[in-house]
């Protein structure tokens, strides 16, 4: 812990008498945060407790924040009525299909950019120009381009995950150790062997850590995607709650997305541990 070093006395300060022996003073440690798992939980519980207290006591107005207990109750009702899965099902399938499309396309394009000069020169500025375009601005167009069925939802999520995946992937390919590639060449490996056996696995850590961001974005875009004619779905549920100013349901929906995000990030951590066990 960094906290520990604050009380350190520099070795120069103390001046013992000549000839005396005294232990060398400690001045190391710190700057290496250690895990303290329970603190995170405590922080959440305290925040929720404060919100509950405030909304009950009235110094947090009902307009500002719903009672956490009411949110919980809404959530239970949602679960009991079976609607939870009716909303979760379509959302998850949209996430899965959209993200799978965007990520696989993004990884492919990213690798091509990483390998070929001309593709790089042509695509990189294009991707840079696409990145800052807000997807919600394009909603009306997506309706025309992909319809109001599942197509446009997949497309929106795919589009949103595509650009960050491309950027992460070609960065990862650029970072693959060139000596490994030269090694492959020096043993006469074919171009495809080098790409498959050296470039791809070498880029995997970067691709996976890009995936963390891409998938978080996919979850964020779920709401935008479900603006387009979705009857069921967590995003649609949130939007409806928002338009009815029903804060309990709004928060219940947001909590679901938040949990979803944490789960996805946990899943990637597990995949990383599996796939990247070779990292030191």
């Amino acid at each position: 812990m960094s906290d520990a070093t604050l009380d350190t006395i520099p070795a120069t300060k103390a001046k013992p008498e000549d000839g005396t022996a005294r232990p060398v003073s400690f001045r190391g440690g710190g700057f290496a945060p250690k895990p303290r798992r329970w603190v995170g939980l405590v922080v959440f519980l305290v925040l929720i407790a404060i919100a509950e207290w405030g909304t009950r006591a009235g110094w947090i107005s009902a307009l500002t924040l719903p009672k956490p207990s009411d949110v919980l109750q809404t959530f239970q009702e949602l679960y009991a009525s079976g609607l939870l899965f009716k909303h979760l099902g379509p959302s998850l399938s949209r996430l899965a299909v959209g993200a799978a499309l965007g990520v696989s396309l993004g990884v492919s394009v990213g690798i091509l950019i990483g390998l070929f000069s001309y593709i790089r020169a042509g695509m990189v500025p294009l991707v840079a120009a696409l990145f800052p375009i807000p997807k919600i601005a394009l909603l009306p167009l997506f309706v025309i381009w992909f319809g109001i069925g599942e197509g446009s939802k997949y497309a929106l999520i795919a589009f949103g995950t595509f650009t960050p995946t491309v950027v992460a992937t070609y960065g990862a390919v650029d970072n693959v150790d060139r000596t490994l590639i030269r090694m492959g060449q020096s043993f006469g490996l074919s171009w495809f062997s080098i790409v498959r056996k050296i470039v791809l696995p070498g880029a995997m850590p970067g691709i996976l850590s890009g995936l963390r961001i891409s998938l978080a974005i996919a979850i964020i875009l779920l709401v935008a995607a479900e603006m387009l004619g979705a009857e069921y779905g967590i995003g649609a549920y949130i939007l409806q709650a928002g338009s009815l100013y029903d804060l309990e349901r709004l928060f219940a929906g947001v909590v679901i997305l938040s949990v979803l995000g944490v789960l996805v990030s946990g899943a990637i951590a597990i995949i990383e541990r599996r796939l990247l066990g070779w990292r030191t």
């Binding site: 307009l63 109001i148 603006m227 338009s243 100013y245």
Partner: protein, 311 residues
Amino acid sequence: QNTKIKVGALRFTSHSGSFVAKDRGYFADAGLDVELEFFQAAQPMAVAIASGDIDYAVTAISGGLISLAQKGAIKVIGGALIEEEGIDGQQILASDAAYQAGVTSPAMLDGKAYGVTQTGSSFHYVGDKIAQAEGISMSFKPLQKVGAVIGAIKSGQIDAWNIVPHIAKPLAGSGAVHIIGAVQDYLPGYQTTTVFTSTDNAENQRDKTEAFLAGFSKGVTDYNSTMIDMADGEAGVDEMVKLIHQYVYADRPFEKAKPSIVNGTMRINEGAKLNMASVQDQLEWFKAGDYVDQGVTIEDLVNTSYVETMS
């Protein structure tokens, strides 16, 4: 020194009452110094009244509005746009594909897809009322944004929709959609939009609220008489359109903007009269659909002490 207030508005012709009252100094005459706050959508306007960011606004009755009223944040105090026989009101549109397939009147919409912005929005209310009246069933597609609905109907992905005339007419003119009916045939006297304010304004700041309604009503009178009753002839229309053009379609040249503004003409209630029967009907519909709490009463929603009500 005039009282400073903020009035929320959308850049739509239907908000002309406020534009005229401000531009012609009616608010100033009533002792108010009005600042217009423009919004991109109606829903945040209701929330902004609740948060105290603006004082008065005009919008359709929606689930969100009723929810906020129930939380004691806002009150409807008058009426604005109304469906009136003989004047172009909201039009019912069918997509070209549906039209070609024989959907030439709302009665033929059975089993079709009807565009709405959100479940529990005013579009949903209108569509559902049409379905009830015709004894048919339709599916409602929530598309959030008006632009998305337009895109969907133009490309035939939804079959029908209802919208104010200034959007309906140019769409129909382009041939991509067809007008197959009018909302007023199904909902005569439909109180399309209402004037509303915060509960605090309605209950504790009577003078200010009355002053606002006075100024607003004068603007509405001017607008109705010039644009609908043609009291000042074409020249009057031109002048009025010029006034409105400062606020609506401001970035288009006048020639391009004028037809859109003229097309958008709809009657606004004189004296902000409120059709209580219509409001009551809307409230019941929202409750029936479970879009709002069952405990909401008409008293939660409306403060009837300001304007004349009709029923």
